[in-house]
Symmetry: C2
Subunit: 628 residues, 2 copies
């Protein structure tokens, strides 16, 4: 089902229902670009650590727009032994909903746009009719705006009820209209005294509402009247405009106030828009499947929750804080035992084809009543809804295949089966040679890289120069880092030291072992940190000196150095008092404010995991750990 | 006429012809956004200087894409006393033309996209079928790539002719295919010896081309054979793929080489794409009309020539270096005497309506044969081609109106008339209170700003706080600079000093006169420059000291301080020898390379205008100088 701004509200309950009843969900996103920095080959270096990869994607891929989101829900029908699926293809666009709402800027990458254009992607549907959304902070701000407006209205005797612009700028009543306005004010006073009349039409006039309001305010007459909208009446050949004033009794006022609040709530909901679907997914606790889903997950958090934190926070808080309870990446699954040996190509299209053949079998999946079905023969790849659907199919085939190892074998393996647990919460890392995934439940794999060299060289060098340089060492693999450095892996680790030794006196290039490279990097980091600390201390020393010179006595809390403040135990205690702190469930409905979140970040940064919050499980060597 | 990638080549000559024969051109651009920084009100502060405005637009508006360009050419038919117009609406998109071509990233602003979407803008047409383009530097690089490839091919016996990837990486021939490949090489040798046969089909195989080439190279057999494309033949139910090898004689080789070069030139032209239209406009020397055209001109240079220089270079080199010989801004014209008094609203749509009424008259304009006509009754505003058309109409009406002041009055005033010269080369400045335009032919106007105050205050302040603060001074006008500062203009200049005096002891805010503000800003600039100079000198001093300590004798050219290098007279002399230096005509065909351009920038920056290059005319007070 295609969902745009036009039919979003009408179908939202259908979406909620589909999520609620499902056994698992599959998702996929289409973006306006991939990398605004380095080329993809540098973005995905073969020897990135999971943390480096995350940082690179965070830095270079988040300014693009996730503008199509595919959601496909799968529910198993035990009696019919088949899955019923409901597929949704959402078009998403941050349409500003009013003048003060955020005016999002996003980047487009020509190659990505061109690629999607060639796939027949409908940009008009996105830009003309995409569903809006707000992230948490924007939602909070908008909610505050409404609250403020309401409390102002209540405090000032429903002032805003009279005229929304009444207090905006000073009102000076034009000389030539004084008489007219005074007459109007008298009329209103009469209306209020007179029990018979309910409303009053002013003489034809268009503006002057704020002037009239001003005078009435002076007389302390805030309500119970209401300056209604302007009505138009046909008069001979033209339309004349009248302002209508009507009396409002207390009951009526309350009813209108409630109406207004309901309307505001609806406006707020409309503005939060597509984020509500993401919140529903997060709240459902269902298993969420994706294919090569790291970027999808990162974009989803960045766009619909908040700017991405560092990798430690991301890892440990993904479940409690932002998003869903379990993720499963079908690309990682297909690259792992027992699938690794029998699946050559794990790209989504090829995987889907492969899983139709022995030893796999196509699952029985039908689309629910009222939902269009996809035909996998006529591929609609790179439509997010279709890709999500295919991803779900691949998961079912692979899960069922695991059932064949049981005795007795099982044809159907559910999303709750223990058999698929080893694949949970590991996100596939594209083109990393020896670390297949970013682990969301513990430390990452630490492969031996004793056959890897780090080489720096002049920026004119090409791959062929590196082949030349290492021609004595047999087959090598080159992974570019940037213009002037690359990792080179040799086939025999024992040759590593030879390569380093022979290069000792080289002028134009430099070779070090991977271990040396990592050690050097850590050293630089420490030195940099030390340098910052030192300069802080130096500044602090100078400041204190100046203070002493002036014999000021205010050296107390304020003299605490910034470093101390970073890890201040005060801070930790405050944290413990945070009433929202132990709410590990989704924050879709009750959002902790930005400040509290900032504090949590700080704590994680300093390496302290709060008690009761440690969801790091003991690290078992997972099924998918490739022996590299 | 709508021009996309599909029909661009077929219609390019039509475009050239229309430009050549025209009396003047009107242009308009549509962009993917306006400002990626401050809000529009801060971007267009009422007291910006022209230089400040230019810098702001350069900084905050150039990452957007100009994705629709309207061009409307007007030619006067003296016998029929009417204009013949040809209108083109170009869709533009930087589609990467191959893997190594630039992958342009551009920013979209939601509000702008939403605005265009509401106007029915066709984003699919842009992204699926937009005309590509290259800027000067990209064109130069591509040309170099082709040249390099060609010279390699010639040098290495047409090696690239055999297989473009032949030298890319070392070829190791798989053991199991050695026999097959050796047999193929034998077959090729036979083919070359045997005069009867002209070509040879290999046995079905798909890859291996580089392996075969490798073996042939070893035997010094670069050509005269050619490994042609793979051909496919139907065989029962499947297609089989054959590689075809054919003999090539010298004549044939030359013919093919020429063909190839012609093809390369065509590819290059295709890649330069829409930029060729801009070059043609620049080369034509025709008067170019736009409405509020500063941003259009800046975007055109940025996107189709090179990143924007500073304002001085922009001002003095616009004509000689980049773009066209004369510009005329209809918004500026309409805001200037004698139009200023009789035209209230200068927005394009309103201006067009106003100019249909007395004392103006609608011009007689017809579209040329084969060109669709626009109906001004059913507005198609914000389609670039339509906006360009309307802009042209406005110009004609206003120009003709000037003819009514002559004796005897003239109905038709041409684009060459002296009457319109006062409006040349002055680009309208949006929302600047007292400087109507950026002058491209001399210094800008220097209005008195003795009624203006510069106020800084806490960021919580709103406009109403400023009204409150200045309530004693009657009517004021507030121009926001940023969150914590604004210009406030008083109605009476004599009150300025009173305001400054009364604020002397205020704690939360600070008031200074405009003159003080400007002086302070210049001082800061000087101090900053001095600071940089000092730190350079300090570094240089240290370096020299170190050098002396080691008693090195190489203190010569290399010890020149960076400051000296900046303004080095060597540099200036080199400049004088630049053979391309005096070519003041357009650089569309003969492009000085990036290095030379960089030098020119440097010179302008240091304030030296090269001799023979001074196209600053004596500055006459123009007709459109509003007495502010």
């Amino acid at each position: 089902m295609e969902v745009t701004r036009s039919n979003f509200k009408d179908n939202l309950n259908k979406v909620y229902e589909a999520i609620e009843e499902s056994d698992f969900l599959a998702i996929d996103g289409e973006f306006s670009g991939i990398s605004d920095g380095p080329s993809v080959s540098a973005l995905t270096n073969g020897f990135d650590t999971p943390e480096e990869r995350y940082q690179k994607l965070k830095k270079h891929s988040m300014d693009f727009l996730l503008f199509q989101f595919g959601l496909c829900t799968f529910k198993y029908d035990h009696t019919e032994e088949k899955y019923i699926m409901k597929s949704f293809n959402f078009y998403i666009f941050p349409k500003p909903f009013n003048r003060s709402s955020p005016d999002v800027k996003f980047v487009c990458q020509s190659s990505s746009i061109d690629f999607l254009a060639n796939q027949g992607f409908d940009f008009n549907k996105v830009f003309r009719n995409g569903i809006p959304y707000l992230n948490q902070e924007e939602e909070r701000q908008l909610r505050e705006q409404y609250d403020e407006k309401r409390s102002q209205a209540n405090g000032a005797g429903s002032l805003s009820y009279i005229s929304p612009n009444a207090t905006k700028c000073p009102v000076t009543i034009p000389e030539d209209q004084k008489k007219f306005i005074e007459k109007v004010v008298e009329q209103i006073e009469d209306l209020l005294k007179n029990e018979e009349n309910e409303s009053l039409e002013l003489e034809p006039c268009t503006g002057l509402v704020s002037e009239i309001t001003h005078l009435l305010k002076k007389k302390n007459l805030f309500w119970p009247y209401r300056i209604g909208g302007v009505i138009k009446k046909k008069k001979l050949f033209t339309w004349e405009r009248y302002i209508v004033i009507s009396k409002v009794n207390e009951e009526e006022r309350k009813r209108r106030e409630q109406q207004k609040q309901a309307k505001e709530q609806e406006e707020l909901n409309d503005a939060v828009g597509f984020s509500r679907v993401i919140h529903a997914i997060a709240n459902s606790g269902k298993l969420v499947i994706g294919h090569n889903m790291l970027l999808d997950v990162m974009h989803t958090i960045h766009q619909f929750y908040c700017p991405l934190p560092d990798v430690t926070f991301f890892r440990f808080n993904l479940f409690s804080y932002y998003f869903v309870s379990r993720l499963l990446d079908t690309k990682l699954m297909a690259s792992t035992q027992p699938f690794k040996e029998i699946i050559n190509n794990t790209s989504l299209a090829e995987l889907e084809k492969r899983l139709k053949e022995v030893p796999f079998s196509s699952p029985k999946v039908e689309s629910a009543d009222g939902f269009p079905s996809y035909d996998t023969a006529s591929e609609q790849l790179h439509e997010a809804g279709y890709d999500a659907y295919i991803t779900g199919l691949c998961f079912i085939s692979m899960a069922n295949f695991l059932g064949s190892f049981l005795s007795p074998p099982k044809n159907h393996v559910s999303a709750r089966s223990k058999l698929i647990e080893p694949f949970f919460n590991k996100l596939f890392l594209m083109r990393v040679m020896d670390i297949p995934y970013l682990n969301l439940e513990g430390p990452d794999l630490q492969p031996k890289r004793d056959h890897v060299l780090h080489v720096t060289f002049p920026k004119e060098w090409k791959t062929s120069d590196l082949y030349q340089l290492f021609s004595a060492f047999g087959n090598i693999q080159v992974s570019w880092i940037d213009d002037t450095s690359a990792f080179v892996s040799l086939s025999k680790p024992e040759q590593v030291q030879i390569a380093v030794n022979t290069s000792r006196y080289a002028e134009s290039y430099r070779i070090q072992t991977y271990a040396e490279y990592v050690e050097k990097k850590h050293e630089d980091k420490r030195a940099k940190r030390k340098c910052t600390e030192d300069s802080w201390k130096e500044m602090e020393r100078k400041r204190l000196k100046t203070q002493n010179a002036f014999k000021t006595a205010t050296v107390g809390k304020r003299s605490m150095s910034p470093i101390q403040e970073e890890t201040s135990s005060d801070d930790m205690e405050e944290e413990g008092q945070d009433p929202e702190y132990d709410q590990t469930d989704s924050c879709a409905e009750s959002l902790p404010d930005g400040k509290k979140r900032a504090k949590k970040f700080k704590k994680i940064k300093t390496g302290q995991v709060p008690a009761g919050k440690s969801n790091v499980r003991a690290f078992d060597k997972p099924a998918c750990c490739s022996e590299s």
